[in-house]
C-alpha cells in the first residue's frame, strides 16, 4: 500500500478503457436507417402489383358482371362483337372440374398424410415426403401433358372435363397432403395415448379422435387447395376445348371454364371481347376470394366450438 502514490490510486479508480457506451457513429446510424427504409420499401413495392392488378380487374370487370344476364346465361348465340350473354357455362365448368378433382384428391391426400404422420417409417415414408415436394413443384403444363399422354393418347379417351379434373388432382394432391400433415402433427399425443389406454385400436383412434381434432384446419386447407386449382389454365388448354354453351357431360365434349374463356376471348379484338375478358377475370377472383373467406370462417367457427 505504501508504494502506491496518490496518482496511481486514482488511476486504478478510473476504468481501464474509455466508457463502453458510446453514441452510435453517424455512418452506422445512417446505414441502419437506410436499411430500415429499404426493407419497408420492398414491402411497399410488393403491394404495388397486388393493388394494381386488383384495381384493374375490378374497375374493368365491374361493368360486365353487374349485367343481369352475366350470372345466369351462357355465351350461346352471342357473336364475338356483340356484348351481352353471361358466363354461367364457364362458372359451371370451373366449379364442376375442380369439385371432381377435389373428390379424388381429398380422400387420397388425407390418407397419404395419415400414412406419413401416423404410420410412415422407413424408406417408403422418406421417398413419399420427397415425392410430395417434387409433385408440388411439377408445372401444371407437365401435369396436363401427362394426363394427355396417359388418358387421351394411351387409353384413347376423348378430350373432356374429366381429363382436366385428373390433371387438377395431381396439382391439388401435394397441397392437400401438406396441409393435412401439418394439422395432424398439431394434434397432441396425449389424445392418442388416452385413446390407446381405453383400448381403442390405432385406426379407430385416427378416424374418431385425431382427424376430428384436426378437422377445422384440414377443411380450410382443402378450400385453399381448391382455390389454387380453380385458376389453373394450362390443363384446360391442353385437355378440353372451349364451348359457348353449357355442357353437363363430364366425360365427353368441350366444356368452358373461366380461365379458358379468358384465354379464348383474349384473341377477340372487339370491345365486347375485352369486356368479357375482364369480367371473367373478376368473376374468377371473386370465386377464389369466396373460397378464402370460407376457409377463414370455417377455421374460426370450428375452432371456437371446441
Amino acid at each position: 500500500m505504501t508504494s502506491l502514490t496518490k496518482t496511481e490510486l486514482t488511476k486504478f479508480d478510473r476504468p481501464v478503457k474509455a466508457p463502453a457506451f458510446r453514441r452510435v457513429g453517424t455512418a452506422r446510424r445512417i446505414k441502419n436507417n437506410l436499411a430500415t427504409v429499404v426493407f419497408a420499401l420492398c414491402f411497399a413495392i410488393a403491394l404495388v402489383p397486388l393493388g394494381w392488378v386488383l384495381w384493374m380487374v375490378v374497375s374493368e370487370g365491374i361493368g360486365a358482371i353487374v349485367s343481369s344476364t352475366w350470372w345466369t346465361h351462357s355465351q350461346k348465340g352471342i357473336l364475338p362483337d356483340q356484348s351481352g350473354g353471361g358466363v354461367y357455362h364457364a362458372i359451371y365448368g370451373t366449379i364442376v372440374q375442380s369439385a371432381v378433382a377435389a373428390a379424388i384428391a381429398v380422400p387420397l391426400g388425407i390418407m397419404a398424410a395419415v400414412y406419413l404422420v401416423e404410420y410412415g417409417r422407413g424408406r417408403l415414408a422418406k421417398v413419399t415426403t420427397f415425392m410430395v415436394d417434387i409433385l408440388a413443384g411439377v408445372p401444371s403444363i407437365v401435369a396436363a401433358l401427362f394426363v394427355f399422354a396417359l388418358w387421351i393418347a394411351t387409353f384413347g379417351a376423348p378430350q373432356s372435363a374429366f381429363a382436366v379434373s385428373l390433371a387438377l388432382v395431381l396439382l391439388m394432391l401435394p397441397v392437400v397432403v401438406r396441409s393435412t400433415e401439418e394439422m395432424l402433427k398439431l394434434v397432441p399425443d396425449e389424445l392418442r395415448e388416452a385413446s390407446y389406454a381405453l383400448g381403442i385400436p390405432k385406426w379407430k383412434t385416427i378416424v374418431r379422435i385425431v382427424i376430428p381434432t384436426a378437422a377445422p384446419g384440414m377443411i380450410s386447407g382443402m378450400l385453399l387447395a381448391l382455390a389454387r386449382v380453380m385458376g389453373e389454365t394450362a390443363p384446360v388448354l391442353v385437355l378440353v376445348g372451349y364451348a359457348k354453351s353449357i355442357n353437363t357431360n363430364l366425360f365427353d365434349g368441350n366444356m368452358a371454364s373461366l380461365p379458358l374463356l379468358i384465354y379464348q376471348e383474349l384473341a377477340n379484338p372487339e370491345a365486347a371481347g375485352r369486356e368479357r375478358v375482364w369480367g371473367a377475370a373478376l368473376t374468377l377472383i371473386l370465386l377464389i376470394a369466396a373460397l378464402y373467406a370460407a376457409a377463414a370462417v370455417v377455421n374460426k367457427l370450428l375452432t371456437r366450438n371446441r
Partner: protein, 350 residues
C-alpha cells in the same frame, strides 16, 4: 410426434410368450388392452387395422407412383418423335412439326427463353422478397406483421391468367419507356441489345420476367420469413448486447442463419418461374428468328410452347415433339426442386 406403440407391443409379446415372427410384425400397432384384457375384438380390429394401414400406405405409394408414371409416360410418348427428329434435339433452334415425315424440332431457343426469363425474374424477386421477409419478421410492428404477411400471400392467390392479362394489357405499355431507355443506353451489353421482337409491342422477355417476378415473390417471401423467424433469440440478443444496430443485428445474425432458407425459397421460386405457362404465353410475342440472350427477345418457353400448340395435338408424332419438350421441363423442375429441398436440409413448404 406420433406415439410409439412399438414399446407396448413388444412388452406384450414378451409377457404372453413368443409369437410367430409374422404376427409380431403387425402386432406393434395394436394397443395393449386388445389382447391383454381379452376384449375379443382383437381379431376383428386387427383386420380393420391392417386394411386401414394398407389404405394409408397405398395412398402414399400412389404419390410416389404418380411421379414415376409422369416420367415414364412422357418418355414413352416422346421417344418415337425423338427418333424421327431430323435435327439435333438439343442444339437446334427450330421447332417445326407441321410435316410428320420431316420433324424438325430442337429445344435450344426454348431453353434460352425459359432460363433467361426465369433467372431475370429471380434476380428481381429475390432481393425484394428477402427485404419483405426481413421487414415482416424484424421491422414491422408485431400486431401488423400477420396482416401484412397475408397481403403478400394474396399475390399467390391471384390466378396466373389474371397476371398474364395484367402484364399484357396493362404493364407492358407502361414499362415500354423503361425498356427503351435500357436498350438505348445499355444496348452494348448482350442483355439489353436489340431483340427479335419490337419493344413497342411490349411482349419481351423483360416484361415476362417482371410478371414472373411478381408471381414468385410470395413463395420466396414466405420461405425466407419462416427461417428468419427461427433465428435464435440468443444470437440476436448477443449482437444487441455488443452494441449492434438493428441493421448490424440483421446482417450478422439473421441473414447468415437464414441463408439456407433464402436459397431454398429462391429455388422453389425458380421452379415456379420455369414452369409458368399461361402468363408467359399471354405476354410473350413470338418471332421467326431465334433469340440471342437479349431481354428484348421474344419467343416461347417450354411451357408456353406446349400450351400454344395444345389445340393441334392430334397426330402422335408431332405431339410427341411437344411431350419431349415437356419431359425436359419436368426434368428441369425436378432438379431445381430437389436442390431446394437439399438446400433447406429437409422439407420445404410451398
Amino acid at each position: 410426434m406420433t406415439v410409439h406403440p412399438e414399446v407396448t407391443g413388444s412388452d406384450l409379446s414378451e409377457s404372453t410368450g413368443p409369437l410367430p415372427a409374422g404376427e409380431t410384425a403387425q402386432m406393434p400397432n395394436e394397443p395393449r388392452t386388445d389382447q391383454a384384457a381379452g376384449v375379443g375384438t382383437a381379431p376383428h380390429s386387427g383386420r380393420a387395422e391392417t386394411i386401414f394401414r394398407s389404405m394409408a400406405t397405398a395412398s402414399g405409394a400412389i404419390i410416389v407412383a404418380a411421379i414415376a408414371l409422369i416420367a415414364l409416360f412422357l418418355l414413352i410418348r416422346a421417344v418415337p418423335s425423338l427418333r424421327a427428329d431430323t435435327v439435333n434435339f438439343f442444339t437446334s433452334t427450330e421447332f417445326d412439326t407441321t410435316d410428320p415425315d420431316n420433324l424438325r424440332f430442337g429445344i435450344k431457343d426454348l431453353l434460352m427463353v425459359t432460363v433467361l426469363s426465369s433467372v431475370f425474374a429471380l434476380v428481381i424477386a429475390v432481393p425484394i422478397g428477402v427485404g419483405i421477409a426481413l421487414f415482416l419478421t424484424h421491422y414491422a410492428p408485431k400486431a401488423l406483421a400477420r396482416p401484412f404477411a397475408m397481403l403478400v400471400d394474396l399475390l399467390a392467390a391471384v390466378p396466373s391468367i389474371v397476371f398474364g392479362l395484367w402484364g399484357f394489357l396493362v404493364l407492358a405499355p407502361k414499362i415500354e419507356p423503361v425498356q427503351r431507355f435500357l436498350n438505348d443506353n445499355l444496348g452494348w451489353l448482350f442483355l439489353f441489345a436489340d431483340g427479335n421482337v419490337s419493344i413497342g409491342g411490349g411482349g419481351t422477355i423483360f416484361t415476362a420476367g417482371l410478371v414472373l417476378a411478381v408471381m414468385i415473390l410470395p413463395i420466396i417471401t414466405s420461405v425466407s420469413r419462416e427461417v428468419f423467424n427461427l433465428t435464435p433469440t440468443a444470437h440476436i440478443e448477443a449482437a444487441l448486447a455488443l452494441g449492434a444496430t438493428k441493421w448490424e443485428v440483421v446482417r450478422m445474425t439473421v441473414l447468415p442463419y437464414g441463408r439456407s432458407g433464402v436459397i431454398a425459397g429462391s429455388m422453389l421460386g425458380l421452379g415456379r418461374a420455369l414452369g409458368e405457362t399461361i402468363a408467359v404465353l399471354v405476354v410473350l410475342r413470338t418471332s421467326a428468328q431465334a433469340g440471342n440472350w437479349s431481354l428484348f427477345d421474344g419467343g416461347y418457353t417450354f411451357a408456353s410452347k406446349i400450351a400454344s400448340a395444345a389445340s393441334e395435338f392430334s397426330s402422335p408424332l408431332p405431339t410427341g415433339a411437344y411431350i419431349a419438350a415437356g419431359f425436359v421441363l419436368f426434368a428441369l423442375t425436378f432438379v431445381v426442386n430437389a436442390l431446394a429441398r437439399l438446400a433447406a436440409g429437409g422439407k420445404v413448404n410451398g
